[in-house]
Symmetry: C2
Subunit: 223 residues, 2 copies
DNA sequence: AAGCTGTCGATTATCGATAATCGTCCCGTG
DNA sequence: CACGGGACGATTATCGATAATCGACAGCTT
C-alpha cells in the first residue's frame, strides 16, 4: 500500500508517479465518483504504456479508492456515507485501543503531538483546512503508531484517512461546524495524555472521532 | 515443466488462477519464507507472459503475503510471531465489537453458526484439522458479517485468516493443545448467543481468540 | 591489500501489439 | 411492436520483446 511519506525527488518508478497523480485528481474532484478510468486513454495522456497505468490502478483498487470489474473497467468509488460511518467506527476502536496500549506516554510522543497540535491551531486561525487536516492526521497516526502494534498502523493507513478526512471536513464545514472545537478537543486529549490519564484520554478520543463521524449521520445532527 | 492445472477450470482471468496457486504453495511450504518469486521464471512455468504474474504478485503483496523491493524482486514474507499476536489483537477487537453490534441475534445467524460448529465438531473427531479450520473461519467470518459493518468485514478478510489460522493451529498442535477445547469453547459461545447474552458472548469470543493467539506467545504457554 | 570504476549477468519495469471480452446496435422474425 | 442473433466498436487482459536497474566481480590505481 501507499506510504504516507512521498519521495519528493526523482521517481524511478512510473507507476508511483501516476498513482499519486490519480489520487490527487480523485481528491480534488477532477475525477468525480463513477468516472471510468480508461487505461489506454490514461496511457496516452501520461505518454507511457498501458502496463504502469494498470499497476497504478490496481494499487488504488487495493486501497478502495476505485473498484474494477473484469473486462468492464475501473471506476472511481463514491463516498458512501453509511460506509464512512462504519469506517469511523473502526478508526475509533483502533485509536481508543492505541491510547490504552501506548501508556505510559513518553515525552517524545507528547512532544510530537504537541507540535502537530500547534500546527493545527495555526492552520485553523489562518482558515487553512488543508493544513489542519494534514496535521490532524499526523497527530492521529502518531497515536496509532505509538501503540506499537504494526497491524493497527497498517490497517489505519489502509483506510485512507487523508481522503475520508477531507470529505468529513467539507461536510462539517457545510454543517456550520467550526474546526475550532476540534482543536480544543485535541487540546483536551493531549492534556489527558500528559496527565497519563488513560481512561480520560480514551474518552476524549472517542468524543473527538464521534464528532467528526457525525458528518456522516443521516440528518447531519450531532445530537 | 508445464502445469496441468492450467486446464482444470476455465478461468477468465489468468492472474486469479495464478494467485490462488501461489497462495497454495506459500501455504503448504513449497515456497518457504524468504523465497524469491522470479517473474519470468514463474511465467515460463505457467506458460503465460510476465504481466499476469506481476499482477498476481502485486495482489499478494497487497495482502501482506509477500513483499517486494523495486528492481530487487518479490520475496515470501515469513510468519513473525510478534506480528501474529498483534494481528490477533485486532481480530479480537473486531469480533468482540461485532458480537455487540450483531445483537439481537437472529435465528438464521444462529442456525448458520450451529451448522459450522457441527462441521467443526465432526472434523475434530475425524482428526481433520483442515476441515476444522475451514469451518471455524466460516463461523468467525459469519460473526463479523452479522455486525453489518462492511469495513469490519473488509478488514477481517484482508488479514488472511486462512493463512494465519493454519499457522496458529500447527503451533497449537505442536504445543499439544487439543482442538477439542476450542470446539467446546465455540459451543459455549454459541450458547451465550442463543441466550442473547451480549456480555457473555463477548467474553467468550475474547477467551477463545486469546487461546488461539497464545500459540504465538514467546514461551508458548497459555499461562 | 584497499579503494575505485566499469562491465556483465540476472531480474524487474516498461513498451507496442494482439487476443479476448463486454455492451450495443442493427436486423430479421414472430 | 417486442424479441433473439450476430457483427461491431470500445476496452481490458495478455503477449513477446526491449530498456532500465541492481549486485557482483574483475582490473586498475595507489
Amino acid at each position: 500500500m501507499s506510504q504516507p511519506a512521498a519521495k519528493a525527488v526523482k521517481r524511478v518508478c512510473m507507476r508511483d508517479h501516476i498513482r499519486d497523480i490519480l489520487v490527487g485528481r480523485i481528491l480534488d474532484g477532477t475525477y468525480p465518483a463513477g468516472t471510468q478510468l480508461k487505461e489506454l486513454y490514461l496511457a496516452r495522456e501520461f505518454d507511457v504504456s498501458q502496463a504502469p497505468i494498470r499497476e497504478a490502478l490496481r494499487e488504488l483498487e487495493g486501497s478502495g479508492l476505485v473498484s474494477s470489474e473484469r473486462f468492464r473497467g475501473t471506476r472511481v468509488r463514491g463516498a458512501d456515507f453509511a460506509e464512512m460511518r462504519e469506517s469511523y467506527e473502526l478508526r475509533m476502536m483502533l485509536e481508543m485501543r492505541s491510547v490504552a496500549l501506548a501508556a505510559p506516554y513518553k515525552p517524545d510522543l507528547l512532544a510530537d503531538l504537541a507540535g502537530y497540535l500547534r500546527e493545527m491551531d495555526t492552520a485553523v486561525k489562518a482558515d487553512d483546512s488543508e493544513a489542519y487536516i494534514d496535521n490532524a492526521l499526523r497527530f492521529h497516526r502518531r497515536l496509532v503508531e505509538s501503540s506499537g502494534n504494526r497491524t493497527f498502523l497498517a490497517v489505519w493507513d489502509s483506510l485512507l484517512w487523508d481522503i475520508r478526512g477531507r470529505i468529513a471536513l467539507r461536510r462539517l464545514a457545510e454543517m456550520g461546524k467550526s474546526l475550532k472545537t476540534l482543536v480544543s478537543m485535541h487540546k483536551a486529549l493531549l492534556g489527558r495524555l500528559r496527565a497519563q490519564d488513560v481512561a480520560g484520554a480514551t474518552e476524549r478520543v472517542q468524543a473527538l472521532l464521534a464528532r467528526v463521524s457525525s458528518a456522516f449521520d443521516q440528518n447531519g445532527a450531532t445530537r
